[in-house]
């Protein structure tokens, strides 16, 4: 089996602090060597042959899937980097502040060479605590970047009051129910909290449980204070739906086992018909007659699923499924999910 190099995608609006973080990754002694793909050399303080400029070329794939776009320049650059075996341990890809993260993420699923030689580790979004609410008002990309993230670095927390910070964090949690959120000043964070996260590794999605929808008791109070929030749910409910003008998230759960055939048909139909509006989906599912947990994830129309080990003995076998996207029909998703449940 070919060794797969982990790739972290770094997004965030202009001025959020991406360059600060990049310079830290490049200069700090953390025992790992990174190849870094930047969109501009501008403020990168390090001159290294492992820092490469990208052109941000988004290509459509001719596979009949309209939302299937990839970054052609990344395929070329990473292909070139991979010929230098042993010179680096991981790759960090910076996107421009205006970039849609989907083509970057899809590159690692749609291109065969990338799939074979690399593994997408996580999408890391740096958010400026002071300005993010304004950015969400004036630019759709800001919501995309938050919705897409596996890890949110809530930066510049020293520039806001505790109340403002709590409001920002509620908003982030509402847009993206599964990301880990870390509060930072000047992006000061231990790099092991943001690198090597395994966010796209089906076997490790299970380990993301605390942030992943999971703990309704703790996160329940995060909802319901926002006037946009249509939260119907507390600890016993089956659906949690957040909606505003920027982004929807729909979280579904059930204690009833799912019919594997019905679930498969339904989820494929949802992705085929609604894929362009679904940014990310993740699920941990209890399929009838299966002892192992079935783990599922999707980026737009691209999806993968696999059994990922047995249910922990103490856990309830609750199926959980989260969709993040635009203009999601929460009721239809709820009904569809319910129709997959065994009687």
């Amino acid at each position: 089996m070919t060794e797969q190099i982990p790739v972290t995608v770094l997004t965030g609006y202009l001025g959020a602090g991406k360059t600060t973080l990049l310079n830290r990754v490049l200069s700090e002694n953390h025992g790992k060597k990174f190849a870094v793909i930047v969109n501009e050399f501008g403020e990168i303080g390090i001159d290294s042959d492992l820092v490469v400029g990208a052109d941000e070329e988004v290509f459509e794939m001719n596979n009949g899937c309209i939302c299937c776009t990839v970054r052609g320049d990344l395929i070329r650059i990473i292909g070139g980097l991979l010929k230098r075996k042993g010179k680096f341990d991981a790759i960090l890809v910076e996107t421009t502040g205006l970039a849609d993260p989907a083509p970057v993420a899809q590159t690692f699923f749609a291109d065969e060479d990338m799939k074979r030689r690399t593994k997408l580790d996580s999408v890391l979004t740096v958010v400026d605590a002071k300005h993010v609410l304004q950015r969400l008002e004036d630019s759709p990309e800001a919501a995309d970047q938050i919705a897409f993230a596996d890890v949110l670095l809530l930066n510049k927390v020293d520039a806001v009051t505790p109340d403002e910070l709590a409001a920002v964090e509620r908003k982030l949690r509402a847009i993206n129910p599964f990301a880990k959120i870390h509060r930072t000043e000047r992006c000061a964070i231990s790099l092991d909290k943001i690198l090597d996260q395994g966010s796209f590794d089906l076997n490790r999605i299970v380990a993301l449980k605390p942030e992943f929808l999971g703990d309704n008791h703790h996160h329940g109070h995060d909802h319901g204070h926002d006037h946009h929030n249509h939260d119907h749910h507390h600890d016993h409910g089956e659906m949690k739906h957040y909606h505003d003008e920027n982004m929807d998230s729909v979280s579904l759960s059930t204690a009833k086992p799912l019919d594997p055939g019905k679930f498969n048909t339904w989820i494929n139909d949802v992705l085929m018909s609604k894929g362009p509006t679904i940014l990310r989906a993740k699920g941990i599912l209890n399929l009838a007659d299966a002892d192992a947990r079935y783990v599922f994830q999707a980026v737009h129309m691209m999806s993968e699923g696999a059994f990922a080990g047995p249910w922990p003995a103490k856990d309830k076998r609750n199926s959980r499924l989260v969709f993040i996207g635009r203009e999601l029909d929460a009721e239809a998703l709820k009904l569809g999910f319910a129709s997959c449940q065994m009687a």
Binding site: F59, E60, G72, I75, R76, G80, L81, R84, K85
Partner: protein, 338 residues
């Protein structure tokens, strides 16, 4: 004979006198093997600060060009002497191709391609493109340059200093590009496991699909009667006689059903035969339509499999070099096999 050069074999070529094999590697070195003293092994020269990304014989017999991620296109002589042909700073030189008979050299970096004529000291012609270059190929007569990119292939007259190209449009990302030996067909490999081709004489174009894997290599038979390609578990050969491949089925040889895909193909310089390398490191020589396949390299069972990344024949056709992504290089002398 086999050697472990320990870095991705990016390019390989034999000198016109069939005496030397020269390779460029992912660690930035160029390695030279004198076939009259193969037991002495490869001589290694450090050329690029990073790695080599592309490689071609230079227009001067015996010398070679390597382009690297240090932004340099470097001419390397057999004794390791170097001359910097181009320096683009932080940009990578990703493609290079040459036509020794007419003296043209072309190279590319990102969205720019450059053409150098035979005359020393002239500045290169710079061709600015809308999207990045996927591949470069000069036609057999040495008059035209094909540049593949996103959504089209453009054909430029090499001798012209300016002028609009002839565009061959087709939606999608075009990667490798090649010409048929008669210069009438241009064929590209695409991002989506397919080939696209154009017949220049009447503007017809065609698509060849059904590949299980990305097509990383393609090679026309010496006389142009078929085009051999990788990307499947057997070597796929499309007929190019009698009006081209439109509506015809390919013939195939070698490989195992659902086995590892073919990653490199190269037509023999004289005979009707194709060398093919696979993702598991295996190398064979065969003919389309024939079940007789000659195994050339069979990787040891306990060895980590590594895909064949390059193949090179000596011009006399007596020897074949196969290099892998892991840096293993095999040279086979066919005269000793018969």
């Amino acid at each position: 004979m086999s050697w472990a050069l320990d870095a991705y074999v990016v390019g390989a070529a034999a000198t016109p006198d069939s005496r030397y094999f020269v390779c460029s590697l992912g660690d930035g070195t160029v390695c030279v093997l004198d076939l009259t003293d193969a037991a002495a092994g490869f001589k290694t020269y450090d050329i690029h600060k990073g790695g080599s990304l592309c490689f071609a014989p230079d227009i001067e017999a015996g010398a070679h060009l390597t382009g690297g991620d240090d932004g340099k296109l470097i001419k390397v002589a057999l004794d390791g002497a170097t001359e910097i042909v181009a320096d683009l700073g932080r940009k990578w030189i990703e493609h290079v191709t040459t036509h020794p008979e007419t003296g043209f050299r072309a190279y590319a970096s990102g969205k720019e391609a450059f053409v150098l004529g035979k005359k020393k000291g002239d500045d290169p012609r710079i061709i600015k493109l809308e999207t990045s270059v996927g591949g470069l190929a000069i036609n057999p007569k040495g008059k035209r340059l094909a540049i593949s990119q996103y959504n089209n292939v453009n054909l430029y007259w090499l001798a012209a200093k300016e002028g609009l190209p002839q565009a061959l449009p087709w939606k999608g990302s075009h990667l490798h590009v090649t010409w048929s030996p008669d210069g009438d067909y241009v064929v590209t490999t695409m991002q989506e496991n397919a080939l696209h081709g154009w017949r220049l004489s009447d503007g017809q174009h065609f698509r060849m699909e059904g590949y299980a894997a990305k097509i990383r290599s393609l090679s026309f038979a010496k006389r142009g009667q078929y085009l051999a390609t990788g990307g499947a578990d057997t070597v796929i050969c499309w007929p190019f006689t009698g009006g081209g491949p439109m509506g015809k089925a390919p013939s195939e040889f070698g490989g195992i059903l659902n086995g590892p895909p073919v990653t490199a193909v190269l037509a023999h310089p004289k005979l009707d035969a194709i060398a093919a390398g696979f993702e598991d490191g295996k190398v064979i020589v065969g003919q389309p339509g024939s079940t007789r396949v000659m195994p050339i390299v069979t990787p040891a069972k306990d060895q980590e499999p590594s895909a064949v990344s390059v193949l090179a024949w000596t011009p006399d056709g007596d020897r074949l070099l196969a290099g892998t992504e892991a840096g293993d290089v095999h040279v086979v002398d066919f005269r000793s096999l018969s």
